[in-house]
């Protein structure tokens, strides 16, 4: 398809999936996930979506949503699972490792550098107070995330009750996570199955 043709096609049907891209080489796979890892602040998923769906056109928007829902369903960090699934789809286990390494290598180096600064200078008053402010802001960030994802549970008293029990078990009673999950997840599935 020529460029002019493609442009016309895109204008006519903007939501149609673009033609599938060829499988990327290992180097491109590494580089793409490297840039996502390096540039993604405060949540990598939006950047990953832009790269995978819009820039590289590796997946259509529905394909991406489908793969993401799998990665959210399985345990582990979503973006980690996503890089493994995509890398593995084209290049088997090696592709999975390459995509994952691309995603993590730069952030690991940066975070260790920040950690070194913290450990070296935390005895100095301005640095210690800076970290106190950073910690307060970060806990506000997690609170805001919790409230935002709690929003959709608003009209569902049984779902809210499950959330409240989970929160109390972990934050107040300080119970271990494994037994809490073993009890609450099946109970929650039984209680909330009608809404599914």
């Amino acid at each position: 398809m020529g460029t002019g043709q493609r442009a016309a096609y895109l204008i006519a049907v903007p939501d149609s999936p673009p033609p599938p891209a060829a499988p990327p080489s290992l180097a491109v796979l590494f580089g793409s996930f490297f840039s996502v890892g390096m540039l993604g602040f405060g949540g990598v998923l939006p950047l990953a979506r832009r790269m995978i769906v819009e820039q590289r056109r590796w997946l259509s928007a529905p394909e991406f949503s489908d793969l993401l829902s799998l990665c959210q369903f399985l345990p582990g960090a979503n973006i980690v699972n996503l890089s493994v699934a995509l890398g593995g789809r084209w290049h088997g286990p090696l592709g999975a490792v390459v995509a994952l390494a691309g995603l993590l290598v730069a952030p690991i180096a940066v975070v260790i550098g920040l950690g070194a600064v913290y450990l070296r200078w935390r005895g100095v008053a301005p640095v210690a107070h800076g970290f106190a402010g950073l910690s307060a802001a970060a806990s506000g960030l997690v609170l805001a995330t919790a409230l935002r994802i709690a929003g959709p549970l608003g009209g569902k008293p049984r779902a809210l009750a499950v959330a409240a029990v989970a929160c109390a078990a972990l934050a107040l009673l300080r119970l271990p996570l494994l037994p809490v999950l073993l009890v609450l997840v099946p109970a929650s599935i039984a209680l909330n199955r009608r809404g599914a």
């Binding site: 602040f41 913290y118 970290f131 970060a138 506000g140 929650s188």
Partner: protein, 176 residues
């Protein structure tokens, strides 16, 4: 970088276990992670909260607190072992399941399970927020900063990094 193999094995096993318990993303794991590193005698809640905050301020996925905990406990090898322990079990599972996914992605049971997991995740992330607050709020100014950050994030689309930077700057300037 010296690290004894017993500590590395403990780190790897702990984060491999947490990997399989991470049903609601990395934030939902914070209460368990904080509890376990304290039980090992590795660090208290306020140091954990500082490392968590650092991981939020760095680029990349928000699971990086795992890397930082490993690094703090056992240096570079600790960072690599903790990170590997956390990504390998769930990664292997994802790799395997992604190939079979077409068979059951439309299955009703998957939606039912997801609808059950979501409220649990909400509760876990809320617990994470409360525990981090308990560690980070030491006086009235830090309390106000937590409340202001939460309110601004809920009311606006401001990038979180601005608020993290503002919190650190206010602290460093001696205003907290």
């Amino acid at each position: 970088m010296s690290a004894d193999s017993g500590t590395l094995a403990t780190l790897g096993a702990l984060f491999a276990e947490l990997s399989m318990l991470a049903v609601g993303g990395a934030n939902a794991l914070v209460p368990e992670m904080q509890r376990r590193v304290a039980a090992q005698g590795w660090m208290g809640p306020s140091e954990f909260a500082a490392l968590f905050a650092l991981a939020q301020a760095a680029p990349g996925p928000n699971m990086l607190v795992v890397t930082l905990v490993g690094w703090r406990v056992a240096g570079l090898w600790g960072a690599l072992v903790a990170t590997g322990g956390f990504v390998v079990p769930s990664g292997v599972l994802t790799y395997g399941v992604a190939r079979l996914w077409q068979r059951f992605r439309e299955a009703q049971w998957r939606r039912v399970v997801q609808a059950g997991i979501t409220p649990v995740t909400v509760g876990l992330v809320m617990a994470a927020g409360l525990l981090l607050c308990r560690a980070a709020i030491t006086d009235v100014p830090t309390l106000l900063l937590v409340l202001a950050t939460t309110a601004v994030l809920l009311a606006t689309r401001l990038h979180p990094l601005w608020l993290l930077g503002a919190g650190a700057a206010l602290g460093a300037a001696g205003l907290l």
